[in-house]
Symmetry: D2
Subunit: 488 residues, 4 copies
């Protein structure tokens, strides 16, 4: 953003998160805290809950884990009511501050309104600029606030009409849960890039409803899976039940394939497919595509484990825990002194020497982004005595940035965007390196391979095929271009 007198707390508009909402259950805030706890892998930076007790809204938001903020019963007591929504925020930038923590709340003329969202609006900057020009005052730098201003200034009279009015102006990949005096609402973007599911909690007659980013959040609260919210669908939940509105032109679904590879929890079932099984099948497919003689298959924990199991099963080479993960990393760690930096310390991983010493090792990981972690891991495994180190990756090369809500760096910093696979192997120090093919990935997920005309998933990070327009990016490019021209 390029305002003249910009305030010094600038922040990304980018968001990757977990959302949860519940209608008609006792201790709705406590249930929401549990749901958010199960979605903790989708965001550990900050968390918040807004409850509604029938007449008033109550909010608590804080930095850190769900348990650190909502573990205390006294906090939960201050969030009364049978209705609540909640949010986990992912650490995309270092600058995050409390006023960016969701759910966002606003008093409208028609009453209170709270919203929490996962994903990314690709025209947020453009909308932000228009709204400021109109006299809207922004307190945060989140997409959610763009959204809430659009609702506030809408000329329609009902909440749902205003919501639709706002949705029609935004472009992007998102799931959101929202709460008004009258209803719990869930929305999924027209292509269904980001996930959102609907569940039932409590007994049939008296029970309530749950919305969540993933099915694992249903299990912990004892709710039953009903169905995925459909791409482009708005579900409106009140005591009369669930109503569905589909205000957008129907488009072909493009679910985010990276949720299968990395982001979703292994015990979730996403779009009908168990994530754990999918990962094992990807590993097996990878073993077929990129076999190599070896003594042990070793996962980079924790995310590489199911793929490594699949690889081991398919190849017949034993699966071993050759790398141990230290889960006690705490909030922060060592800004190392020079001496410490030379040690090349890996705080999260350590080599299990007896398993690696003298062995030909296949390492299985989910992706290579910048390559720095892979380089350290390979070094560590060699230092532990491995004779050969073969790296196998359960995704195709990450060549493009994601603008739809997954935190990837700028394209120029993606190793695969500027290096061949052989160059990458040399750079990370592996004896060989292989990625699963994009068709292999589709096959592992039960598709016949990738149909370039009608690809089933959003796989832009591997293919550059962006299914949703990127107005902010184009506008940014235009501005840089004009700066360049001006510079001549």
């Amino acid at each position: 953003m390029a305002f003249n007198g910009r305030h010094s707390e600038e922040d990304s508009l980018h968001e990757e998160c977990g959302v949860f909402g519940v209608w008609n259950v006792p201790s709705a805030a406590a249930v929401t805290a549990l749901g958010l706890h199960a979605l903790q892998h989708r965001g550990q930076e900050a968390t918040g809950i807004t409850s509604f007790d029938g007449s008033r809204f109550h909010s608590h938001r804080g930095m850190g884990l769900v348990g650190d903020n909502f573990g205390d019963a006294r906090v939960i007591e201050k969030l009364p009511g049978r209705i609540a929504i909640g949010h986990n925020r992912y650490a995309t930038t270092g600058d995050t501050i409390l006023r960016n923590v969701q759910p966002l709340y606003a008093d409208f003329e028609f009453g209170g309104f709270a919203v929490a969202h996962n994903g990314n609006l690709t025209n947020a900057h453009l909308l932000h600029r228009q709204l400021v020009r109109r006299g809207c005052l922004f307190q945060s730098t989140t997409d959610s606030e763009v959204f809430i201003h659009l609702i506030a200034i809408s000329l329609y009279s009902t909440v749902v009409d205003r919501l639709i009015d706002a949705l029609k102006q935004v472009v992007g990949a998102y799931s959101l849960v929202a709460l008004s005096n009258e209803a719990l609402m869930g929305v999924r973007d027209p292509l269904g890039v980001r996930p959102l599911i609907l569940g039932r909690i409590g007994s049939e007659g008296t029970g309530g409803w749950v919305l969540a980013s993933e099915s694992c959040a249903l299990d912990i609260v004892g709710a039953d899976f009903i169905r995925d919210v459909e791409p482009g669908e708005i579900v409106i939940i009140n005591d009369q039940g669930v109503r569905s509105i589909k205000p957008f032109t129907r488009m072909r679904e493009r679910f985010c394939v990276f949720e299968y590879i990395y982001f979703a929890r292994p015990d979730s079932i996403v779009e009908g497919t168990p994530v754990y099984e999918a990962r094992k099948r990807i590993g097996a497919e990878l073993a077929q595509e990129a076999a190599v003689p070896a003594d042990v298959i070793v996962p980079v924990p924790d995310s590489g484990v199911p793929a490594a199991m699949g690889y081991s099963m398919q190849s017949g080479i034993p699966f071993e825990l050759g790398i141990i993960r230290n889960h006690y990393v705490g909030r922060t760690f060592i800004e190392p002194t020079d001496h410490i930096r030379h040690l090349g310390v890996k705080l999260k991983h350590s080599a299990n020497k007896p398993v690696l010493d003298g062995k030909r090792v296949v390492l299985v990981d989910d992706s290579i982004v910048r390559g720095t972690t892979s380089k350290k891991i390979v070094e560590m495994v060699r230092a532990a005595g491995a004779k050969e180190v073969h790296m196998r990756i359960s995704s195709p090369p990450t060549t493009h940035s994601c603008f739809y809500g997954i935190d990837t760096p700028q394209r120029s910093k993606l190793l695969a965007s500027t290096h061949t696979v052989d160059e990458m192997a040399a750079l990370i120090g592996a004896d060989s390196l292989a990625f699963i093919s994009i068709d292999g990935l589709y096959r592992a997920l039960g598709q016949p391979g990738r149909d370039p005309e009608k690809p089933h998933y959003c796989d832009a990070c591997f293919t550059g095929d962006y299914p949703i327009p990127l107005p902010d990016q184009h506008e940014l490019a235009d501005r840089q271009l004009s700066l360049l021209s001006a510079g001549n």
Copy 2:
């Protein structure tokens, strides 16, 4: 406010405060911190500073004293620039929260804008409702935010035109300092109820300018008093100097008389009159109006001291420190057990027995609001052995609430609004009680008495003569009335 789904952090819109601003001085934030420290008596609850370094605005706000928030040089370092404004907030309600702390900042289309204000808008609720209806989202519950929204949505193009546009829509008693990319601005309400002064800092050619609630804030930063900002005047300060705009129809000034009696610091000079001298003269006038044979004149410290000195001087009865004030009360104290409550503990005051024992005592205090403190003080003085206790008050009876920025309770809780002076004397346990007359007060301040046609001061709390309309109060009354009708 009566929205359906009101959020549970409701707060008063009421504000009493100290404001300070400085243009073109090194370490503007440090200078502002010192100025705010000298204005600490105008608000101890919270404090904030926004500086401008020529390209960016920087803010720090916190609960508590100026020294606790800005005593640390590292905080000051994060507020660079030669321009800054600051604010102290008074504890009007228990619910105050950080997002209500001023200065308020907003990014407008034309750049950043910060504002801090002292006083009260009497149509803030009405404006708030209109703005929400228009789609404005409120983050705080302060008058300042009403103001900032009015600027944001103004159709004028320059900051100053938008400021005037906003000022013409608000009604109330206020002083404000504001900061844009281009200027430091100061505004005083059309009747000049709340104070604001202009000072010069640094050498003639290179020096800068100061705006402050009181002159005592000039002394601490080594600035010279130039003049009071005039009622209804906008001063616009930039490197070209000070420009003055008077957008309002000229009205007769009605400065708040309670600033003389209690609120201003004794070493300030307010509207040309030294506060300390004024208080001594009020005490002397009171001694003439309400003489009583006695052995000692004892002030209720600290605010009663100058009036007691004036009373002693006039009456010839010795002035003695018969009550000692404990200044170390800390942030909170004892929620007493029953046993402790029976002790009737006075944490702030203690009796100096040898001075009081066996004496006829005249106690001098500045006002009686609810009467509870006076009752405790009289009891304490009697327990210390006083033979007689005569209470003398250096203001007329407080019979009406203030809606212009002084924190007084609802009228029904003002002792003087429901009791005669004799009843009050009986209630607080004094042998006699007297207040200065309204004419006596005017005389002590150099006026010929109060001219009911053209009173020189705002004295609404003593007379009920409210010089500024109260739209919010009338609207509230209307609503209550219609509720009553509806109830029939």
Copy 3:
């Protein structure tokens, strides 16, 4: 303890911990922080480091993880020097307070002295009482302070002689690292129940020395394993190298077998045996001893994983991650409301339904203590659709309390001390339950089985054969007995 006027901060004298020490390395405190990080699994409750810069000692201690306390470079900067010791404390009781956090430091006549210890003195209460009788003032309730008082009052003149004097008075299982002006010292108890290893850091000529509870702490700091400190050995490290003293009568070693089963990190090599391999062999042995027809082998993560892999390998039944562990539990969590409690929420574990549904499941865990966790896990697995649930435990039944430094509850609360295996199976709801036999455990660790005359390990928790006397326990029993007699 039964003093008349006991102070209300009573605490256990019990300790289970990780210790680390380093001599002659740049940034010794940073190196120690890394070593403690690798030992984080031995204690997450509190941590501390004392460094020595050649003339002064410097300490920092705090509650929580190593990274939370020593991740900040500014903290490390305040701990200068090339010599340091550190400590991680395990949460044995809820009452732990900062003054109990180690290392403990004292100024002696001959200079400063710091000590950190892992383990438990079995005559600490008796010694404590004697020392108090002699006029010693205790500040903490740790065994380390008993130890430090014994050194303080010793009549010997050198630090080492005083250390030996103190060691000869204590009974128990312990490893300790200590620091004086002149040397880094390491001590292991006469039977070698608790582990301690010696490593070399830096290049041969100029390099330094490391002491640590486990070898995994060497890897992270780039040190090489030299040897285990021997049972009953004192190693004294200074710039002249490592000196060894063995002041105790030589006894047969009895290393803690539970370190292999659970406590040590899988990538550590303990007494020459890799822990990970040992756990896999235990699993394999268990599969031979207690085979059962099944579809999947599922570990209770994380500690059950290697044993489950061994079980799977031996039995040929596939290994699957049927239970997912949530590592983001945070510091505290939900004091559940009644509604939440009924959900039987498992915050750390969730079932991976697709893996379990309709299957005959073998669950592999490391031990059953009270049985409550096992019961919840079995319930969860059944709720996920498992047809049969067979529990296999990679240790013999835990029938006795540990008094040597492992946190086990009182004997009466150990499920296996009061129930048969069949009763336990019924209680936890498993279709079958089996523990590895004590001989099987010894075989898996490379022994020919347990020789009751000369058992190789301390296995008191499984056999009741306590190799170190328990004076405090006997004295306690005597006192209770005399109370009973007195009661007649």
Copy 4:
């Protein structure tokens, strides 16, 4: 202290404080908190309370004011019992840390024991060294811990005998309150340098007892003054009443004259003399000794006020509040930038210009220590327009350090130890400067002047006549001397 390996948290052994104790009153801890609040002027740095509920001792200690630590009823609830002692600590050094905060508590063989003390032991270093040599471990650096070790190692069997044994080994000026299972004890040093009084609380038959540093602490809790504890007296309070022991050879009393001049609160009655009256008489005496033609008498607030009133009364020159004190200084303030430093900011005081402008001003203050504050005050008064500034001091020149518990700097830093009065006047910029004479001071306090053979007060800071030996100082001098010799 000169140990080889000294720990880096070194601290002064120096203490100036307020103490309070109560026997047999409901909510003893709450009563103690109130008493400590009234004694807050004797120490604002830290505070602590230890209560005894008949079977256990309970402690809470913290940095900061009494209200900040004990204002919360939940803290008080954790300190049950009808018996308690408490302590306020004065900020003598910047290094104070929580483990130095009193009361100190220890578990002895015979039960718990807590002690709080005001004053200074002049042989604390020597005793400390002896005790460390004997094997005693020190946790704090307070005189109280020396004392508590002496009690711990005493060979006597009863608490009282051990207390006497310890008292006979210490040299110094002190008041202490102590608590065992059986009694509340109060002790005053043999010369009675530091104050301690006894009061009665509650009704005659059932009531309890209070010990306090000053009588103002009785008033706030509704207790009656009984008598000063006598020099060298131990009072032992239990349910049988008050027992008195005088274990020392009787010596002539030497009460600290500086308590009258500055330290005690004006509403306290010390050794039978009201402090406020004493200060007024000192001011009057000063007016006689050092008259000067002037227009106004202006106190340096707050401590100079009564003396200025006495001076005004005697001289007939009007008393005016020409300097205003800002009581809201907060915990910390501005580490000034260069720009701010040049302003010569006085955060605590500001000039009341209209009172000073054009006037001949007599400033009255209680003492000149380093002279820096006086210099700033004189500058400020001149800058406000004063024609002449005459400084009058209500104590003789402070030429010597206090080793008996008042925080004075080293002798070399005392302005009066190295400058004549005329030099001092020039240095602080006053037109004239005068101190009260030592005989004038004695006369104002009702003595016939100072009898050099038998002075009534401890006035060492003015005369260098130290009535209590200074073993630590002599030993320090000896060591420095031998270092000098060694240097030859």
